[in-house]
């Protein structure tokens, strides 16, 4: 019995948005070396998929979402213990293949067959991307967003899928998180005017159906601590 307790006492499961894949893998590895004998199991997927799984009763100790909407679903279902804390901010980035003729976001409204791919509006990244297009109307004029969206050829199920289409050079442009950039090869950014990118807020919370709240609290504290924040900023996130 003691052994079983020991094992379960050292295990937590963390559900995290797919954009956190690399950052949280490193965070968990460092956390495990600082707490010998512990094991952090990570499950990465789209935040909306994760929140649906949690609502269906999936067992997890911690939820780190890419937006507050998905976190709110979890709170409303009474599945959180602590009040969610924002642990990372993320900006957006418009990317094209490196040899592309496109140089400015303004070029995206051209009618000459630009292939735009976005994540679906249900995914946080897809919603932020559409917000960005609307905000760019301040500079490029009313109707800009609609003109750009008329070039939309596919709504992908995750931001990484959308990025893959641009890396394969099958699509001309997509909008990703700035933190995705270090994973992408053969792409360049179109500069977004200062202050216009929507800010993605990533909240983290302790879940009520977890098996190991003590260790889970330590993990959340580590994410929010300055060593944890340093790791996360290395992957292109901004410390809140």
């Amino acid at each position: 019995m003691a052994l079983i307790n020991l094992v379960s006492a050292a295990n937590i499961t963390v559900f995290a948005a797919s954009s956190l894949t690399e950052a949280f893998s490193t965070v968990a590895a460092v956390f495990e070396t600082q707490h010998p004998g512990t094991n952090v199991t990570l499950n990465f997927s789209g935040s909306s998929i994760l929140s649906s799984q949690l609502l269906q009763g999936a067992p997890a100790d911690v939820f780190a979402s890419a937006d507050e909407t998905q976190m709110t679903r979890i709170i409303d279902a009474g599945l959180t213990i602590t009040i969610p804390k924002v642990f990372a901010l993320n900006l957006l980035s418009i990317i094209t293949p490196v040899h592309s003729n496109l140089v400015s976001p303004k070029d995206l409204q051209a009618e000459s067959g630009i292939l735009l791919v976005l994540a679906t509006p249900e995914v946080p990244a897809g919603r932020y991307a559409r917000q960005l297009l609307t905000r760019l109307e301040k500079i490029y004029g009313v109707g800009f967003s609609q003109k750009v969206l008329s070039n939309l050829v596919s709504e992908e199920i995750s931001v990484r899928q959308a990025a893959a289409k641009v890396m394969l050079d099958e699509a001309d442009v997509t909008i990703v998180y700035r933190s995705d950039l270090h994973n992408l090869q053969g792409v360049k950014q179109l500069p977004i005017p200062e202050g216009l990118s929507p800010v993605a807020r990533f909240p983290i919370a302790l879940l009520s159906n977890g098996r190991n709240p003590e260790l889970a609290i330590k993990f959340i504290d580590f994410v929010l601590s300055s060593p944890g924040q340093n790791i996360i900023s290395q992957y292109g996130f901004i410390s809140p």
């Binding site: 067959g113 791919v117 679906t120 249900e122 050829v153 709504e155 199920i157 394969l168 050079d169």
Partner: protein, 261 residues
């Protein structure tokens, strides 16, 4: 026929399989068949996806019949070097994961692909278009048609064709009036199998054609997209596909039974 296996074992194995194979379909259909089912059929997301599916699978079927009939006739009637090899090649899509098919199609028909690049330079782009949807469907589903037709052409009598020729019917007329009518049940079976497989195509389509409502988001892709936000739409479309598939399957069975009788 005498059953040698212990009855208990057969019963147990049978019930496990039935629960596993039938229960999900049954529950799906029952959950979708609410009083709102008919009204949800009119949901624009549903009609748009169904319309696109019907158009693309219809074109895929026509292309498959046109190209597949002569090829299966050739494979059934002529012996030539490499025939077995060709037959095996044509069966590859049946055992290939559809996603892999999608990647392959992208490498050929994508904008930087073998055929896609010259086409792109001519101003024709296939990726992310309804044409790409049709290509994916033909790739994964046409082998089913060819298999059925091959079997149909093989069983019929050569003598009847020879007789027609000696009666001075042209080869073309012989094919239309003798060969094709004799293989009619196989033709219908091949069409149904091909069409249902094309209707359910998902993996290759999402890779090579992407997913955009009205252009490339066929019914299975619409189900996947709807799972994230509107479960009712997903259920309605899923139930429709399940019912259509089952009805057509029954039809195929009746046809093959009649053939054997």
């Amino acid at each position: 026929m005498k059953v040698f296996l212990p009855r208990g074992l057969v019963l147990a194995a049978g019930s496990v399989l039935i629960v596993l194979l039938v229960l999900p379909v049954l529950v799906l259909v029952l959950r979708a068949l609410t009083p709102d089912f008919l009204s949800s059929l009119l949901n624009p997301t549903v009609t748009q996806a169904l319309r696109l599916s019907l158009i693309t699978t219809g074109i895929s079927l026509l292309v498959t019949i046109t190209l597949g009939t002569p090829v299966s006739y050739l494979l059934a009637h002529y012996k030539f070097p490499g025939r077995r090899f060709l037959e095996a090649l044509l069966d590859i899509p049946l055992v290939l994961p559809p996603v892999v098919a999608g990647v392959g199609l992208l490498l050929v028909f994508g904008r930087r692909g073998l055929i896609g690049r010259p086409l792109d330079e001519l101003g024709m782009s296939l990726a992310f278009t309804s044409v790409a949807v049709v290509l994916a469907q033909i790739f994964v589903a046409s082998p089913l048609f060819i298999r059925a037709m091959k079997a149909g052409f093989s069983v019929q009598s050569h003598q009847l064709e020879a007789a027609a020729i000696t009666l001075h019917a042209s080869r073309w007329r012989t094919f239309w009036r003798v060969t094709l009518p004799l293989s009619w049940p196989s033709f219908v079976e091949g069409c149904i199998l091909m069409w249902t497989r094309a209707l359910g195509e998902f993996g290759a389509t999402i890779v090579v054609a992407g997913s955009l409502a009205g252009r490339t988001r066929t019914t299975p892709l619409a189900i996947y997209a709807a799972l994230e936000k509107d479960l009712d739409v997903a259920l309605t479309l899923s139930a429709l596909l399940a019912i259509a598939a089952f009805t057509l399957l029954l039809l195929v069975r009746r046809l093959t039974e009649r053939q054997e009788a």
